[in-house]
Amino acid sequence: MNRRDYLLRKIGLSLITILVVVVINFILFRVLPGDPVRAVIGRNVRISAETQQALREQFGLDKPVFPDQFFDTLGQWARGNLGVSWSLRQPVSEILLSKLWNTVLLIGLGQVLAIILGVALGLLAGWKRKTAIDVGALTFSLIAWAIPTFWLGIILLAAGSTWFGLPTAGIVSPANTGKPLITVLPDLARHLFLPTLTLTILYLGEYMLIMRSSILEVLSEDYILTAKAKGMSHWQVLWKHALKNAMLPIVTLIALNLGFTVSGAIYIETVFSYDGLGKLFQTALVKQDYPLLQGAFLLLAVSVIIANMVADTLYVVLDPRVKEA
């Protein structure tokens, strides 16, 4: 199979997966117990049964789930329309887009830092195996990986706001709301610092541990011994021979993690009152906002699938064996 066929097959499979996800999502949310109208209006208001019925008709919930609601939804999606959120009364695509960048900014930054630091630390620990550096890095990573997200977030929030005066909530200060982010960069940086630090610490451990074990395995290979025997420097051995092979498991991990980036980090977003996709997913679920839920899960599914495709493609570049298989 040549490279083009391999990619085409991957894309075809991805499209089928998306279609299956769409159908499953539709069914999944509708078998949830409860009444979306009730979820939208809550328990504390004075809404008559007639008004609730009017809302139900407006949402199309008075029609049978199958075929009416199902084909209505598919028809809308085919026209590129994700519908209007019931609880937020805004087009779903607009809502998703507005939160997407916030989340990509936070998680992206945290991931990039965690990848760079984690890989570097793992490489170092593997290379300096059984030294104090290795033990120290390993202990730190294990702790970082095991710490509950919520707990670390709260601790850093309390420490950061008390000792360094860092903000406790939001993406920018309330007074900077609505301004283009580029004009309020210092404020943005202050707000991003603690959530990013939390994310970096949490992900760093995972990358470090995988990288360390991967590099240890590679370093025990015969060709590394050969390279050393040829008189190459430590650095050359590590860079030219070990790293490329050791990166394969990391690429998988990065792709998987990045795919889930858009699902946000519900815990971190909640601790730091950060307006991202993770929190949106949670709200949509609580409010049983079907259009928003379907849109959000479509976005999540598509990004995970795309991330996997990218990983598959990268394999072709990194590992010639994939091509031949």
Binding site: P33, G34, D35, R38, A39, V40, I41, G42, R43, N44, V45, R46, I47, S48, A49, T51, Q52, Q53, A54, L55, S87, L88, R89, Q90, S98, K99, L117, I133, I154, L157, A158, G160, S161, T162, F164, G165, L166, T168, A169, G170, I171, S173, P174, A175, T177, G178, K179, P186, D187, A189, R190, F193, E269, T270, V271, S273, Y274, D275, K279, Q288
Partner: protein, 558 residues
């Protein structure tokens, strides 16, 4: 060593960031939202308000969350408003009267009321606002409940609004306190109910003490500027900034470091800690939220047939259940004293205590008495200790919504007390949507622990017990059906004489207390806190800090 360097680098960056940005408490914030609004002068008195929610919309036609109404009360003015003692005082209205037939209400407006854009308010605009709700109740879903029974609203002159009703309406003052005067040009052009509901109204024009500056729906940041032309005196602060927190620990921390000045809802678990903060005053008020044990009272002939334990129909069993709940222990142990044991579905704070029946004397906790009562009624202990009488067995499902932090503990305690009396309760957490589906109108439960936040007027919480409400979309969950009660409910709606209405309301509470479709457990306290080292002049009432009045009155500490 490297690890140390890595951490030191982070600390260094943190210090740098601290240095490069101003913090709310020390540097005045100069908000600029768009080019058309001039930046206010530097020394602004800004009050930062922290809360866990945010308005769902600023459109009164389709707002369901309490937060929205907090904001409406600041930017809009209805004809009347509730005062801290539970009575109603004039908002837009200077005074009002009702004709001898009790069906024509005349409201005289105050002088000098201006819209936020500087135009004078006219009575016909107030009439227009109420007529809009009457003309499109589907569109004005959130307010349509307040206009039932209205036939005509007119403005005979610029200063008078007249409401004619189909039958006498007892709680007119309360009803009009939710019918905000909206600026007609903002709401005139909607063709369908959906168009109206989709309108965000982020540039709301009202007549209230604060005017809109900015609302960011995504983050919940809401900035209001003082209305210096407010007809009842200008606020002493210049601006309020509402900030939404998704997590109560972060909100409390923000109060501690002075990022926010007022917290409307302090979690009970943090209350003692907050009391200890320097420069912070924390208050616990009675509020009007109550929690109850719902007893399945659904008519056995209901369609679908209820699945509740038939023994619950026996008044002796109900009384035994009531005797087997130690409300004081629940308050002291689970709620750390931040509640009061309850008895009536009408909380003592409603209307300043006017509606709470003094005739209700709660039974004292006594499981031995419960046991002997059951014994006398023929319920004898079975092999496993659970009492039985013929086919009846005193074993109950005890469900509660899973999102509540204290209910699991209460359910466990109840199960132990029930055990002492020879009954069995099986606690089970259920998500609230499933619980709504199980209660109304399925009647598929035995006992449920839940809570209500009643409206300021008693009408709503009394309606919860009417037979009509036990339908899909209705609010009755107990399935209480008592034709006599239903008649009283209609009577109190039309009893314009307050004392006469009070008498009916008392009787109704007593009926609910004695029949026990609900066993009211406790009234939750409202916990609030503010930075008393920065602002002074908060107005407290038995219902807590009055947000509207306080924000009109507070000023920075000099």
């Amino acid at each position: 060593m490297r690890l140390f360097k890595f951490l030191s680098a982070f600390v260094a960056i943190a210090v740098l960031l601290t240095a490069c940005g101003g913090q709310g408490t020390t540097t005045p914030i100069v908000p600029v939202t768009d080019a058309t609004k001039a930046p206010p002068p530097a020394e602004l008195a800004i009050l930062h308000f922290g809360w866990l929610g945010k308005p769902d919309t600023l459109n009164p036609a389709y707002a369901f969350l309490t937060e929205s109404y907090t904001v409406f009360d600041l930017i809009y003015t209805p004809l009347t408003t509730e005062s801290p003692d539970g009575t109603y005082v004039g908002g837009l209205a200077k005074d009002w009267s009702v004709a001898a037939d009790n069906m024509t209400w005349t409201f005289n407006l105050k002088d000098g009321i201006k819209w936020h854009n500087g135009e004078d308010l006219k009575a016909e605009q107030v009439a227009w606002s109420i007529n809009a709700v009457m003309a499109d109740p589907d569109g004005w879903a959130a307010l349509s409940g307040y206009i039932s029974g209205f036939t005509e609203v007119t403005a005979p002159d610029d200063k008078t609004v007249q409401i004619v009703t189909e039958y006498p309406i007892a709680n007119m003052e309360y009803r009009v306190s939710f019918l905000y005067a909206v600026y007609p040009p903002d709401f005139e052009s909607f063709a369908t109910p959906e168009d109206l509901q989709n309108f965000s109204n982020f540039e709301a024009i009202g007549t209230g003490m604060f005017k809109m500056n900015t609302f960011d729906k995504d983050t919940g940041v809401l900035i209001l500027d003082a209305n210096k032309d407010y007809f009842d005196g200008s606020p002493k602060i210049d601006q309020i900034i509402f900030q939404t927190f998704d997590n109560s620990d972060a909100m409390i921390q923000a109060l501690k470091v002075g990022e926010i000045d007022l917290v409307n809802e302090v979690p009970a678990s943090a209350f003692v800690t907050v009391q200890g903060y320097e420069g912070v005053t924390a208050t616990a008020s009675d509020g009007r939220y109550f929690n109850e044990l719902i007893v399945n009272t659904v008519d056995p002939n209901n369609d679908p047939a209820p699945t509740g334990n038939p023994a619950l129909a026996d008044p002796v069993v109900r009384e035994a259940i009531a005797l087997s709940i130690n409300k004081q222990d629940i308050v002291d142990i689970v709620l750390q004293g931040l509640a009061t044991p309850g008895a009536s579905i009408v909380p003592p704070t409603l209307g300043g205590g006017f509606w709470y029946s003094p005739n209700i004397k709660d039974v004292a906790f006594d499981t031995a008495k419960a046991g002997s009562m059951l014994e006398a009624a023929g319920y004898v202990p079975g092999d496993d200790g659970v009492r039985v009488k013929g086919d009846l067995r005193l074993e109950f499902r005890l469900q509660f919504p899973s999102d509540n932090p204290v209910y699991p503990r209460i359910a466990d305690m109840m199960a132990n007390w029930f055990d002492e009396a020879g009954m069995k309760a099986i606690p089970e957490a259920v998500d609230s949507d499933s619980l709504i589906a199980a209660t109304t109108p399925a009647g598929d439960y035995d006992l449920v622990i839940w809570g209500w936040g009643p409206d300021p007027d008693t009408d709503f919480i009394l309606s919860v017990m009417t037979t009509d409400q036990f339908v899909d979309g209705g609010w009755s969950d107990s399935g209480y059906h008592n034709p006599e009660y239903d008649q009283f409910y209609l009577d109190q709606q039309q009893a314009v004489d307050k004392t006469e209405r009070q008498k009916i309301v008392w009787t109704m509470q007593e009926m609910v207390y004695n029949d026990r479709p609900y066993i009211v457990l406790y009234y939750e306290k409202l916990l609030q806190a503010y930075r008393s080292d920065r602002f002074t002049g908060f107005i407290e009432s038995p219902l807590g800090i009055e947000i509207g009045l306080s924000l009109l009155n507070v000023e920075p500490v000099k």
